[in-house]
């Protein structure tokens, strides 16, 4: 649904994008990650046809952004980061105007606006002036605007920036609900959000793609497997046994307490292999294993590692 190949963008002497490549399949949601100034907003602006690429192939819904810009814009719902909405319009009036501008026929526009308003939970504020709305509500108006003409592709630039935790959760759930019906490309600084709303991520670092893969693959590639082993051992030096295993690092060891259970926190480069080696070693040493549990891998760690890797290159 979205195809980006060898995309370059220069602003004078500054090269904002240095040949990035990625694709977004139809019906999926992809997170665009990167530090400030990495090139996320530039990429989104190119995809939404607000600015043109210096070179490269960019296609949205099968249409190249440079040569079929109007067709691309008909197929996208774009929400810029600052949600610049006309303050002197009422929510309903603004959305009706936007629906008409996006080609929704006059008769259908009322229904389209009603649907968008109810989808983002703005029914009680439909007659409010945009300028009196809180930042969170304005974000929702921006989201309703992106949805009002039912576009197949949604491009959302920092949709939850400036929102409080409860508003953030609502927007997150909304984006999650949009998957399947729409192809969603969303950028955010809040990584747990991307973790829960997207299937894949594209990490941009200083104008290049540092990683482009599924979140799970990314986590496995860039983070270590941290796991906890709970066991029972009598007169066995388990700590030494664990230290003997190559490719496994013992982070913490807690000797048996009143319940007779000892704990070890271990870190292995490869999840399955490390855990298997630990279990094998302990069982061979006569240790009775009570439990092996893996700790949640964080996208944040994976993101930072991916960036570090890109910088080291």
């Amino acid at each position: 649904m979205i195809r980006v190949q060898r995309l370059f963008k220069r602003f004078g002497a500054f090269e904002a994008l240095k040949g990035i490549d990625f694709h977004v399949a139809a019906g999926t949601s992809v997170g665009l990650l990167g530090e400030n100034g990495a090139g996320k907003t530039t990429t989104m602006r190119i995809l939404s046809c607000f600015i043109a690429p210096t070179s490269g192939v960019v296609e949205v819904a099968g249409h190249p952004v440079v040569f079929e810009s109007a067709a691309v814009r008909e197929n996208i719902g774009y929400m810029p980061e600052s949600v610049p909405i006309y303050g002197n319009m009422r929510v309903e009036e603004f959305l009706r105007y936007r629906a008409r501008l996006k080609g929704v026929p006059a008769k259908a526009s009322r229904r389209a606006v009603d649907e968008a308003i109810s989808k983002v939970g703005l029914s009680s504020r439909r007659r409010s002036l945009v300028q009196v709305l809180s930042k969170g509500l304005r974000q929702r108006v921006g989201l309703a605007d992106a949805l009002v003409h039912r576009p197949p592709v949604l491009i959302l630039d920092e949709p939850t920036s400036g929102l409080d935790p409860s508003q953030r959760r609502e927007v997150r759930e909304l984006i999650r609900d949009l998957r399947g019906d729409h192809t969603v490309l969303v950028s955010s600084h809040i990584l747990p959000e991307i973790d829960t709303t997207c299937e894949r991520v594209v990490i941009i670092h200083r104008g290049t793609v540092a990683a482009s893969e599924s979140i799970e693959t990314l986590k496995h590639r860039y983070t270590e497997d941290r796991f906890r082993v709970v066991f029972v051992a009598f007169e066995i030096d388990v700590e030494s046994l664990l230290r003997e295993i190559p490719a496994v690092r013992l982070e913490k060891y807690v000797a048996a307490g009143k319940d007779g259970l000892s704990h070890a926190l271990l870190v292995g480069a490869d999840g399955g292999g490390a855990r298997h080696a630990v279990v094998e070693k302990l069982v061979a040493g006569g240790v009775r294993i009570h439990e092996v549990t893996g700790e949640e891998r964080s996208l944040e760690d994976a993101f930072l590692k991916a960036i570090e890797g890109e910088e080291a290159r």
Binding site: R45, R73, R100, K102
Partner: protein, 243 residues
């Protein structure tokens, strides 16, 4: 066409909902009425002579009002960031420019309307038959000049994100264009430059209209000016993509 009309309606809505517009209109209409009544008294209530006086005021009014009508068109959209939202909707740059210019042109007509109203009321009051043809010619001339000024103002607004700068630049361009007729006097009558300045001088091309004659040459010049300046404006708006 539908999208153009949607944009036009939104532009007009934004203006007609603003207090500033109505306050300015009231001020202008009030002063025009005052000026007209003074002129009528001085001319012994001869409406045709009074019209000769008021046409100069209308021209000054057009030069002053047009930058105020156009200053926010693009500058405000740029300042607030809403240009990004507007230009990522499926509308062409030309549609946006034409709709904004069209809205400003309608607003200018609203400013010129009070003179017709005054003329009509006074005709009714004095039970006389004014020279409607001359008033029409004057209005057409004012609209022609006004549309050129509006096009320049639209261009000025597209060049900046600060409304004040847009207004000042618009006023400066208007003044320059109006002064071209004066520049011709710097050159001998037989000089080609004298003729060039005379051809492109907006004030010289208003003279026929002010005397009650609609000269097609004037109209062609004004339409050409408007088309050329709006074309540049579209290019300036497009420039954001490539900068």
């Amino acid at each position: 066409m539908t999208r153009f009309l949607v944009l036009l309606r939104r532009e007009l809505g934004a203006t007609f909902q603003s207090f500033g517009f109505w306050a300015l209109l009231a001020l202008v209409a009030g002063y025009t009425a005052f000026f007209y009544s003074q002129s009528l008294q001085a001319r012994g209530f001869d409406m045709d002579y009074a019209l000769i006086d008021i046409r100069n005021w209308l021209f000054i009014l057009t030069v002053i009002i047009t930058p105020l009508l156009t200053m926010r068109l693009f500058a405000e959209e740029k300042r607030s960031g809403s240009l990004e939202l507007l230009m990522t909707a499926p509308v062409s740059d030309a549609q946006v420019v034409m709709a904004k210019f069209g809205a400003a042109a309608i607003e200018l007509l609203v400013f010129l309307a009070p003179i017709w109203l005054l003329h009509g009321l006074l005709a009714l009051f004095f039970a006389s038959t004014p020279d409607w043809g001359r008033l029409t010619a004057v209005t057409v001339g004012m609209c022609g000049a006004g549309f050129v000024f509006l096009a320049l103002g639209t261009l000025a607004s597209a060049l900046t994100s600060i409304q004040l700068w847009a207004a000042l630049l618009g006023a400066l361009l208007n003044t320059c264009l109006t002064s071209l007729g004066v520049l011709r006097n710097l050159f001998p009558v037989e000089s080609p430059l004298h003729r060039v300045f005379a051809y492109i001088s907006l004030d010289l091309h208003l003279r026929s209209a002010l005397t009650g004659i609609i000269d097609l040459r004037d109209v062609v010049l004004q339409v050409t000016f408007v088309a050329l300046v709006l074309f540049w404006t579209i290019r300036v708006v497009e420039l954001r993509k490539w900068k």
